[in-house]
């Protein structure tokens, strides 16, 4: 086991490919190394712990059966990240039965329900910064949360986000800008409510 832990990803990928059927030790080490970012990202994209676990499992299974097509031009982690983004976005599209395209850019003004404080019942609880971030992220609509996570958690380029979400580049930039503004506003609102500031 220690032997695998000391090896770089590239060597593990080679070993996983060449391992006899049923020997998953090298691939399991890759899963151990990359499971936290994959799980975290699936959790915030899907907003569900249960769905996130299923999604993370499916992402690693896709990676395993796709190892033969992995050319090693990018690091293994970046390759898994692409699989994960594709898989999670397809999941959200199927679940919601919608695309990210046909959203009225002015919906924030026209949809008062989205402006209601989503955590009113938890205002009295003391939350850590991480918990606040989670609450605020979960309260954002898909059209804002998804590009925000892809950009500020995953670090994807604007072009990649536009391609993944099937929207234009300028719309992507605008969406991210608005997502950050909305995220910041809701976060501040929550923080002030917890501190007892009206």
């Amino acid at each position: 086991m220690t032997r695998f832990a000391d090896m770089p990803d590239e060597a593990l990928v080679t070993m996983a490919r060449e391992s006899p059927e049923g020997d998953l030790r090298a691939f399991e080490e890759l899963v151990r190394r990359h499971q936290t970012p994959v799980s975290t990202n699936c959790r915030y994209l899907s907003r569900s712990e249960t769905d996130a676990e299923d999604l993370a499992q499916e992402v690693f299974m896709k990676a395993y059966f796709g190892l033969a097509s992995f050319e090693g031009r990018s690091p293994f982690g970046a390759w898994v990240k692409r699989i994960k983004v594709n898989h999670c976005l397809n999941f959200i599209r199927k679940k919601k039965g919608q695309s990210f395209v046909d959203v009225d850019e002015d919906y924030m003004e026209s949809e008062p329900a989205l402006q209601v404080n989503p955590v009113a019942d938890r205002l009295l609880e003391q939350m850590t910064q991480r918990e606040r971030i989670r609450e605020v992220l979960d309260s954002l609509p898909d059209t804002l949360r998804v590009p925000l996570i892809l950009r500020d958690h995953d670090g994807l380029a604007y072009e990649e986000i536009a391609e993944q979400m099937k929207i234009g580049l300028s719309a992507t930039k605008m969406r991210i800008k608005r997502a950050r503004e909305e995220f910041r506003a809701r976060y501040t609102q929550l923080e002030q409510a917890q501190d007892g500031i009206p």
């Binding site: 994959v38 799980s39 915030y44 499992q57 690693f60 299974m61 971030i133 500020d152 930039k173 800008k177």
Partner: protein, 82 residues
């Protein structure tokens, strides 16, 4: 909109998003392993049963073909001659 213009110091709490890390469920590794094993087993089973199923299907199709072609031959023989 310029990319740099958007990204100039998003500041807190946006910057915190990059460091978000939720611990992976303990069952994940086991689930991945079980999922891979299940799929490999399924494909092995298909590899084994595939030719048998194919052969059975071909036999069945040839039986149907023979049935209809022999029926047609009998009909041809029974047709009254003028």
């Amino acid at each position: 909109m310029n990319e740099d213009e958007i990204d100039i110091d998003p500041g807190e709490p946006i910057a915190e998003l990059a460091d978000l890390a939720e611990p992976a469920p303990q069952s994940l590794l086991g689930r991945v392993r079980a999922g891979i094993d299940r799929k490999v087993f399924g494909s092995q089973l298909l590899d084994l049963t595939g030719p048998v199923l194919g052969h059975t299907l071909m036999e069945f199709l040839s039986m149907i073909f023979e049935f209809f072609s022999s029926g047609k031959a009998e009909n041809d023989q029974e047709e009254p001659r003028e």
